[in-house]
């Protein structure tokens, strides 16, 4: 079986696809958005790039929200509510950011320490403590 014509066809296809996807999209005659103007005045980022990055970031965050137990429909609505800066920040570090949850959940190991620090007024884990000053 001769594989060379097949290989050649695949290679040609790959080349075409690469060229098509890496050539910059043409700039359009359009308005400059408020978000772009605010960002531009701060950093001077080319507007096309920042818009594209925000779009990619939203898609990234949506996938990760779904992985963390959010329904696909709700995940879409939730990323739409993020502004560009938030979407990019979440795309970079969603897993590492603190998630506020509860007053419940202290580990037994640190129970005593937290009790003492509570009484001293540095922390406020247990509702029954009153700081000494």
């Amino acid at each position: 079986m001769n594989v060379r014509p097949l290989l050649r066809a695949v290679a040609a296809g790959v080349v075409v696809a690469l060229v098509a996807t890496t050539t910059p999209a043409p700039v359009q005659a359009r308005i400059v958005t408020t978000e772009e103007a605010l960002a531009g005045s701060a950093a001077g980022v080319p507007v096309d790039r920042s818009a594209l990055e925000a779009l990619l970031a939203r898609d990234d965050v949506r996938t990760r929200l779904e992985a963390l137990g959010v329904s696909p429909e709700e995940a879409r609505a939730r990323v739409q509510a993020l502004d560009d800066v938030q979407a990019q920040a979440l795309a970079e570090q969603l897993e590492r950011l603190p998630a506020g949850g509860s007053v419940i959940g202290a580990v037994v190991l640190v129970f005593v320490i937290l009790l003492v620090t509570d009484i001293l007024g540095f922390t406020r884990v247990f509702p029954f403590t009153r700081p000494i000053r």
């Binding site: 939730r78 998630a99 949850g101 540095f122 406020r124 700081p131």
Partner: protein
Amino acid sequence: MTAARRRRARVRVDRPPPGRGDTGPRIGGVRPLRGGARPITLGVALVLVAAALGGCAAPQSAALRAALPAASQAASVDEGARSGAFGRSLAPRASIAGVPFVAQSDYQCGPAALAMALAAAGRPVPLERLIDAVYLPARKGSLQAEMLAQPRRESMLSVPLDGRLASMLQAVADGVPVLVFQNLGLSWAPIWHYAVLIGYDLRAGVVVLHSGTEAATPMSIDTFERTWARAGAWSMIVVDPSRIPSSVDVGTALRAAVALERLDRAAALRAYEALLARAPDDRFVAFARANALLADSRPRAAASAYRALLARHPDFADAWNNLAHALADAGDAAGAAHAAERAVALGGPSARVYLQTAERMRRRADPPAR
């Protein structure tokens, strides 16, 4: 932990700063700990350990309370600035009546806190809907970015406050409850929590919070500051778009309104109008309003908004570019071509867009001979 911090901790134990002597809740059963010779050693050791573990400074509340007596005698600008209260003095105490309390269940303090803040802003939302909107099941909690984003889905404006205790207290004094993020545990054993600040009393040294399952619970202001600072000094408010408190600076409010526009242009427009009335010379506020009018298919209103802006700021190339599009939509091809040329002449980071705009406007104004 630095030696400097330990030294500070020791100084604080030996000689408490003036003005904090007899205030703050005390429990008799705990005080004798520092009465006799041995208990003092034990107390000092405990404080040092705690300081080393968690950091112990509460500098902002101390400064605010130290500034109190002077501020009450005469509210001069100098004292207002010293207390960090936007040039006017912060009221020594304030509380907001009638903020509905929503108790949290399981790990859902985020949705509960949002429910309270939204209801206080005049937009009651069922807790179930808020849980769907901000809770992350796998993380057993809610992220700050999503807490900020959610009110926009209810057409409300959410504004992050700066990292100053005075800003939060000022919001409460303005009648706006503050949604705060706290680390109730320690930096290395965090317990993240959202609560709603609804009152404070600087003289008594307490704040009042709707928190967890406790309504209107008092907390020492020093403890509150530490838990809040340990969570990155983050807080936010939720307000109606046309009722932005004057203590929020225009730039911050504008960014919040721009974020709202993604979901509700009409609501954002109300915020822009309110901000423009407050800061008529702010180019970005006027630009945001004109852009929203144009996006709302009101090219004539948008064009006159851009013109009013450009009369004040003729060097604003983005506004010239967008004026060209507004005029083209309104049927003024010649005016559009002229405006686009102005943008090209000024240039800037978006120069490539201006060139494309100018080319299209030229073609429209001066169509090739057929």
